[in-house]
Symmetry: D2
Subunit: 159 residues, 4 copies
């Protein structure tokens, strides 16, 4: 017996989404670093992506401004230059707003990690000056530009 409220909810609730990473290309981000987007949330500014880094690759020193980050490592291993721990497959990492760190992949294996990000990523020089900034829009633009340049259909990841 569906009550009236249940019918109302069913009528107005948003659609679910099921996306497979095989349907999304790896977007080059920097030397030996790629990302694959899964969701762009334009209401809150958060986004979700896989990050792939080949051995010897790095994500330069950056600060997470105005939002937290969560990471779940799928394969390989990585660490932050400024921390003691090493993330391996099955590691869950929480990074608070304001955190500054440098991502390194020292091992022999390609690293792939699921990242859930909020706020912005501010890349810093040695004097802590911001030299580059990423947010939900810059990552989305990288995805759109790459798809257009390579004749890949753009998946709707805004939800």
């Amino acid at each position: 017996m569906v009550t009236d409220l249940n019918s109302f909810t069913e009528q107005f609730q948003l659609s679910d989404q099921a996306i497979n990473i095989n349907d999304i290309p790896w977007i080059p981000q920097s030397d030996r670093v790629w990302f694959k987007p899964l969701r762009f949330d334009l209401t809150t500014g958060s986004w979700i992506n896989l990050l792939k880094v080949k051995p010897g690759g790095a994500v330069n020193r950056h600060r997470h401004t105005g939002g937290k980050v969560m990471a779940y490592t799928l394969q390989g291993q990585w660490r932050y230059l400024e921390r003691e721990w090493v993330a391996t497959a099955g590691s869950y990492v929480f990074e608070p707003p304001g955190d500054i760190h440098t991502l390194l992949v020292d091992g022999d294996e390609e690293m792939i990690t699921l990242f859930i990000l909020e706020g912005s990523i501010q890349y810093l020089d040695d004097n802590d000056q911001v030299i580059k900034q990423d947010d939900v829009f810059s990552k989305m633009k990288l995805y759109y530009d790459y798809c257009e340049q390579n004749n890949i259909p753009i998946k709707e990841l805004r939800f």
Copy 2:
């Protein structure tokens, strides 16, 4: 050169957290279903856990009330009885508030999926009456009870 604001931020920012799933036990949830918690956020009521379901297992029909759910499939395959899609390794699923569904694992392989949950899970009978409810506290209690009963140290997952 660290500016004063940078020192202030470093002084007050929360600690990062790095947890490996190997340090947390599988908690029995129902027949052929287990979960492994990664984070209990008592400020917002959200929580993160791995879910493991053996072939033939199911999570009974339930509604996500008052929050969204996101899932990333790590291994195996699963589906919702009420939907057309099948999630396999690398599938990312978004479930909106209000969504009602029944999780099934039909395949031969054990399924493991990372879930990020908000709100509450309300298990429904055939008349859509709530017969059981889970939220961040009920999952946390299952974890604490299991650890105490099995002399396993409780990891601090409240952050």
Copy 3:
């Protein structure tokens, strides 16, 4: 000089919204209690409303399951039967997930408070059994039903 990223952002960013409470009716909620919705966020299940309670009115004992609540008092005064503090104009209140309380307006003045809510509101009987539940959809339905019954145009508050 608008850079390409700025143009991209401007193209894709969501619209801002500006709503005045004078354009939204007071919806009867219970004896001496009304609400006026400002936002229904169907992506997260949160919603925002003004609450108006006439002297002697109450919101029966309830639990906030699966989400936090924040309140800013605009006029009048109120308290929770289970707490020591009294909220007056300019009081900001934070209620954590799981909190149980009974809202009372003892004074002579009508109380109006801005509430930002997540999760669900579960009204409890003396044995802590749930006898009624509100969430973003039930409040939205009350608004839609009231507008239809009174020939008031429904404002689009889903954003």
Copy 4:
């Protein structure tokens, strides 16, 4: 009858908070502009504050990067140079991530508005270069510095 889960929840739930704006000073922000903080959420980077602007005052052109903003006007009126609407007492405004605007108070009356902010505020010059940035930490530092300089006890607003 309190069930075991209810006792567990009561034991672990966070404390509620009730703060009155009369207990917090107005912090000078710029010429004819003050703010009064109500909450610093260091887990997500969001913060809540009242903003007071005297007639003729302005908040220079800025972008909200990596987060949404919500505003509820308590008194007076204000607008964004780049928009058509005017906010008056009782106006609720939603500003999406990426939004760029210049806040103006043209009227005769002091404006006071409750703002709930996420991400960061990036003040832009005429070439869209970032010349100053605010986030939860910079606003918290302004509050702490002002209290220390004026021998005002710092209220704990981190929750």
